[in-house]
Symmetry: C2
Subunit: 313 residues, 2 copies
Amino acid sequence: MKKVVIIGSGPAGHTAGIYAARAGLEPLLYEGWMAGGIAPGGQLTTTGTVENFPGFPEGVGGTELTMMMRAQSVNAGVEVLTETVESVDMSKRPFTVKTSEGEVEAETVIVATGAIARRMRVPHEDDFWQRGISACAVCDGALPVFRDQPLVVIGGGDSAMEEAMHLSKFGSKVYIVHRRDELRASKAMQDRVLANPKIEVLWSTTLIDVKGDSALTHVVLKDVKTGKEFDHEAKGLFYAIGHNPNTGFLNGQLEMDSDGYIITEKGTTKTSVAGVFAAGDVQDKTYRQAITSAGTGCMAALEAEKYMNENPL
Amino acid sequence: MKKVVIIGSGPAGHTAGIYAARAGLEPLLYEGWMAGGIAPGGQLTTTGTVENFPGFPEGVGGTELTMMMRAQSVNAGVEVLTETVESVDMSKRPFTVKTSEGEVEAETVIVATGAIARRMRVPHEDDFWQRGISACAVCDGALPVFRDQPLVVIGGGDSAMEEAMHLSKFGSKVYIVHRRDELRASKAMQDRVLANPKIEVLWSTTLIDVKGDSALTHVVLKDVKTGKEFDHEAKGLFYAIGHNPNTGFLNGQLEMDSDGYIITEKGTTKTSVAGVFAAGDVQDKTYRQAITSAGTGCMAALEAEKYMNENPL
C-alpha cells in the first residue's frame, strides 16, 4: 500500500511529490500517457517561454520547466509512472487507484490533473498556436509581439472581459468577438469594458478561421446575422471561453461545481472526501497560474502528511 | 500616484511584482533596509540550499533564489526601492505609504512583509545557525546530515508536535524539549507523539546553550525543577516556538489574529480593507513555504488588478 498517490504531472503534482518525498512518504505519481489529450507536464508543455514563474530572470521554456520539476521530483525520491489513471475507488480508505496496467491502494490521494483551455478548433488553429494564439492573456499579454498591435479576445463572460481589460494595456486595440448580441459578463465588468476606448465588441460575430505567415496576422470572422465572412487584422488571438477540468475519471465521487471543478475547502486543498486532496487548476478557475498551482501542490502534500498523522490506518 | 505598492521582497513580494508589472501596473516595491531585522529577500536569505522550490532539480541557494526573483522583478519593470516602510495610512483611498525618505500615494497596497521565526537566542546560537540549527523541519528535515541522528525540537504546541512527527522519519531519535510538564498541543497530536517510539519528551527542560565544532553536536539543557544543567547529543536543533509576523508598522489598521498575522478572506489575499491585499507568511501560519508564498503573491497581484478594474479611482 502507498501512503500518497499523486495523479497529475504539472506544477501541482510535482510540487506535491517533492514535498511528500521529502517528508519520507515515498509517493507514487502517475504522470499519465497523454491523459486529457496532453503530454506529461500538463498545460505548461503547450506554452513557449514562461516569464512569470519566479526564479527565472530570463524566463524559461514551458517544457523545460516541467522537465526540471520532474527531475527534481525524481531526485527527491518520487516514483513516477507513465500510466493514466482510469478510476479511483474513494468509497473506503485505503482508496484503490486503477490504471490500465493494474491497481494500487493508497492511504491518501492528491488529484492534480489540471484543466485544459477550451479552443475553437478552427481549421488553421494548430499552425498559429503560440504563434499569436493563446489561451492565457495574463501569461502572454505582455509579450513584445503584442505591443501596440490589434488583438482579439473570444468570449463573453467575466473572464473574457478581464482578459480584454488586461490586454488593452498592451495592444493598440482589443476586439471582443462574441457570437451573441449581449454579454454574459456582470454588469459592472460590461460597463468598464464598454467605456474603455481601446476595446470594441464585435457583436453577433464568430471566429471561423485564422491566417498568417510565420505568425498570426488575421482572424477570419463571420457575422452570424448576415452570414458575411471577412478578414480582420489581429496579431494576437486569445481564447477566453473557459476550461475543462480533467475530472471525468472521478465519476462524481468528489463534490464538484457545475463546470466539473473539484470543490475544496477554501484556503486548503481538502475535498469532500477525507484523505483526498486536490491541487492546481483542477480546483482553481480563478488564478490558474503555474506558480499558484505549485503552491497548492505543496499545501496538498503537507495536508496529506498531517491527515495521516492524525488518522493512521 | 502609484497603482500598486508592494511592501516586502521575499517570494510573495517579488511574485506580486512580476505579475503586476506584466499587467502594465508599473508597481513600486519597497524591499526595506534590514526591515524586521532581516536582509531584502526575507527568510530565504537565512537558509542554505533550498531543495523544495520546484524548478531547481539540484536545489538552489536561498540567497541566490531571492536574487534571481529580484532580477526577474526588475526585468519585468518593477521599481524596487531599498527603503523601509514606516507606516501606511489606510483610512482612505488612495492609501499613503510613508518611508524614512518620503511618502507615496497608492491605489492598492500589497503587504508581503513576512514573518520571522522565533529563536531562543542562546549564547552560541549564531555559530551553528544553518549548521545544525533550523526553524523549519519541513524545509530542512530531509537533509542527509540529520539522517539517523539524534534531533531536538523546542516547543510544546501543535506545530512542535507536527515537526517532531516529521523528523521522526529521519532521525534516530527526536527529543522534544519543553519547559513545562504538560504540552500545549491538542490531545490528538499529543497522543500520536507520546505513542511514537522514536520521540521522547524531555519535560520541564529548557535550552540554555549549544555546542559543536564545524556543526552542532550538543545542546545544553537545564532541568528547571532541579536547576541541573547537562549536555545532550543533538545533530539537529529545530525551533518550533512560533513566528513573529512583521505587521507592527500597520498599527492595527488591518484585521489580525492574536499573534499579529493578517487575516485574509480564505482562498484569497483580500484583507479587511478593500484595496489592501496580503500575501506570503505575513498571512500564513500554516504552510509557510517559499512556494506557497510565491503563489499568494501572484494571487494578490491578480486581485489588485481586478479590484482596480472594478473600482477605478
